[in-house]
Subunit: 288 residues, 4 copies
């Protein structure tokens, strides 16, 4: 949702907490004529915990070009032992979408993309069903139908991985993709696969959460956007939201109502990921 | 929150769904000069499911007195095989509170009671700690300290049950009472004990939900008011609510923030129970 | 969102409150073998105020057909002086959409319509701009471009009214239609035009509410779906919702964030209208 | 809600945006062995707008004492032309409460204060009614009854101002104080008086907002905590919240339900003010 400045860049840092990081980094930027426009930081524990930082800055007229600035930051980073990433805001990430039959999350992302809310390129969309081919192509995006059966699951995954690598994607959104990914797949894109689970995790892990929610008689239903790890529905949570329901909702009505929470929670998570606002540590996220 | 009309009464009905219930009941009331001012109904399945109904009505000048009306309803109810309950709105339920050390839920209920929001009498408050004795007594309510140790748990429960029966309570609120009740206790007050669990059930069942929520890195914390059954944290849910949190919250800060959700969810559930708005079926509630 | 039963019907009643309405109506239905599956009522004041009722019922095997049932209800209604409406749930209302350039509300309605969430027919969409022609037609819906200039406003409105009448529409949704309708237009469709105003009314009436919200520094922005009357932004409110914002939002960012509240509030209001859940009285609504 | 570290301090800065502020300030702190544990900043416009910053830092073992650090910051601040404030987190602000008859906001603050959530001292509470004398004194806080009539309004205000100055208060909370303050009063405590208005401002400015909300038929009611200025209900908004209502709420029921939104919005605003999280610019706030 941020406005684009032509030379806006972002610096993300994770490291063990220590004295002088903010000073050293902000002085580096100042000396390179870069103007800090936003800065967030978080320490798990000021005494020896982890330190996370996200800085947005604008390159100035006397700044070196971005690549040189990035290059020059290497020595400071090495000296202070920082894990870091520096990105131009104008560089759009390449996002792939995996989807099955249900289209609400897919369409939400496509609409936000076309309206300019979501600053990404979408080089391809893969589905195990042909259902959404037409709508995807009406947006001018290549659609790949990669069917999955029990027997072909492994090959199908290999095909998907290859397509994703060929198209040089930065991250992958599972927009209601109803297949469990293998470790091989997940490990190929560490913390770069975002899933939307249709419950308020950790409640109702696994299949059919709306049926379980109906059984339990909950008064709110939820959705959880998270990074995918090898543990099903256990990855770092990026965003969650809920919706009030009542005894009148059948399982099917919970499912329909839940679509609205799913698409909004997913869209927010994708937006934050796109803007480099999410840092993972352990099994959690810092969202700046 | 409803306004008091001197002759306002409530009729609650549960039965197998069948044709003609609404007609029969509303005609009965009309013939007795009782004016229906609100009516809610719910069928789990119009073809042979369960039927639930709640009617608020005002006795008219030509109505029999309430007890006679109630008496005359018996034959209709028998004929149609209804489970039912008829109550004068002006008859305040007698509510006991069980509490341990934390006072936020206790105080919320006491404030609402004193301000007239909560239409109950509070004949006694029982605690396993003396902590809240003074504040309870400042409200003019008898406070009983019934300590519980591993060895005395059974006796202590018996003492509590006896106190509750002596004081003729209609229902019991566990306002952060940190003891698990035995089956004997629970069975003495079926669907008449309301607990507040400090998580969004079924997430984080059992002890230390805030520590678990911190570990899992959830983005919302919740609270659940439910009727107590023999299965810990598994009873019929009356109300749930949530609060947005983020990575900056320590376990302790989640605990503090969560207090506000706990007291509001509990207060709503108690209010609804007080107004006969909650019907239990299976392990769920209908809240009218 | 309700499931379709083939012979589900709805009865809506408004009248001065008086004794015996529920009894008379429910007995009428019972005698015609119609099974009440849901019923809501509301009295502004049990002593001589207004009474509103909505009943859903299923015609039984021994029921007369719907038209005969409706016909036979006339005499009861006359006797009790009821304003009423009886509709088959399966009869889809014919909804027209008026839209300008912004497409988020339009697309929300189209998605929900295609997914079966919104039970309407959409015979036509009219716009004062050609912008959304292609997307509308991709849904197989006729699109009419009726440009409006200061000089042609009256003629353009006449053209729109004629199109709407030719297509026999039941109600009209202004899905961000940036033209003020004349009294002539409004009076042609009393309480059958739903508008989405991009603020939490009555705050920020009139043009540019997001700019005004930015100026005022509010911490929540809202949207209001209401029936259109001759008084701009003063018609009966059907639904409102809000979204948390903060000092970081520019006017443009408020506008973008607000889209999500607008489309959800509008979609809910349209859904309720479609299901005959909204009754207007004075300048307010009862939403059952 | 933040945990107390013995040498935690806060630095707040407002100034025209210019290059190098973050670098200069963070380097100053680093050179004085102070460890930044949190930092937030906001620019209204990176090109020549206003710049706001809030830094939390811990004094280290090699740091000068707090007063000397503060003293040494003067020259940097002068050089860069900063408006600034530096406070020890452990220094509790002195908060006065002004209240009339309704006690829900008063009690919310007192409960949070006693539970340690609200880190303030409360040297006195002033009321134009004796109603809440007993409850205030039960918390061990001096209660001053300063009656206000049309004739004595000016004297009464003078008396209140004098009491507030004698007790050396840092800020004042109007916890449903039903008197309009004169310019003299307001100007004596600029941006240091927090009011809770019982509507979602700018909707329903002035008296009787719940009656107005009832008339207008809104579907959400709200509350607004804001700094008091000379323009009634027009001061900088700190926090707002809303609650869903429906056609069944009478004005009185809106009033009762609204209490819960009022006390929560007010408590949050007071908490943020207490932690130096609120900066005022123009007629708006930045809440870090």
């Amino acid at each position: 949702m941020s406005q684009q400045h032509p030379n806006r860049a972002r610096l993300l840092i994770s490291c063990r907490d220590k004295a002088g990081i903010v000073s050293a980094v902000s002085t580096f930027l100042h000396q390179h004529d870069a103007n800090i426009v936003q800065s967030d930081q978080f320490s798990t524990d000021p005494q020896g915990g982890m330190f996370f930082m996200r800085i947005e800055f604008d390159l100035g007229t006397a700044s070196p070009d971005f690549l040189r600035l990035k290059h020059e930051f290497h020595s400071l980073a090495a000296e202070m032992d920082l894990d870091w990433k520096m990105e131009l805001a104008a560089r759009k990430k390449r996002m792939a979408i995996l989807v099955s039959k249900e289209d609400h999350c897919l369409l939400e992302l496509l609409w936000r993309w076309r309206s300019g809310e979501l600053q990404v390129d979408i080089p391809l969309i893969i589905s195990n069903h042909p259902t959404n081919k037409q709508v995807v192509e009406s947006y001018g995006i290549p659609f790949f139908h990669v069917p999955v059966t029990r027997e072909t699951k492994q090959e199908a995954e290999q095909e998907a991985i290859q397509l994703l690598k060929q198209h040089d994607v930065d991250f992958i959104v599972l927009a209601r993709y109803m297949q469990i990914l293998s470790s091989t797949f997940v490990d190929s894109f560490p913390h770069r696969i975002i899933n939307i689970h249709h419950s308020f995790l950790p409640a109702f892990i696994g299949a059919n959460p709306y049926a379980k929610a109906f059984e339990r008689g909950v008064k709110l239903i939820g959705a959880t956007a998270h990074y995918v790890t090898d543990d099903l529905d256990e990855g770092p949570i990026i965003e969650q939201d809920v919706l009030r329901v009542n005894h009148r909702y059948s399982t099917q009505e919970l499912r329909v109502a839940g679509r609205n929470v799913e698409r909004i929670a997913l869209a927010r998570a994708v937006d934050w990921h796109t803007n480099d606002q999410v840092l993972v540590y352990g099994n959690k996220t810092v969202v700046f």
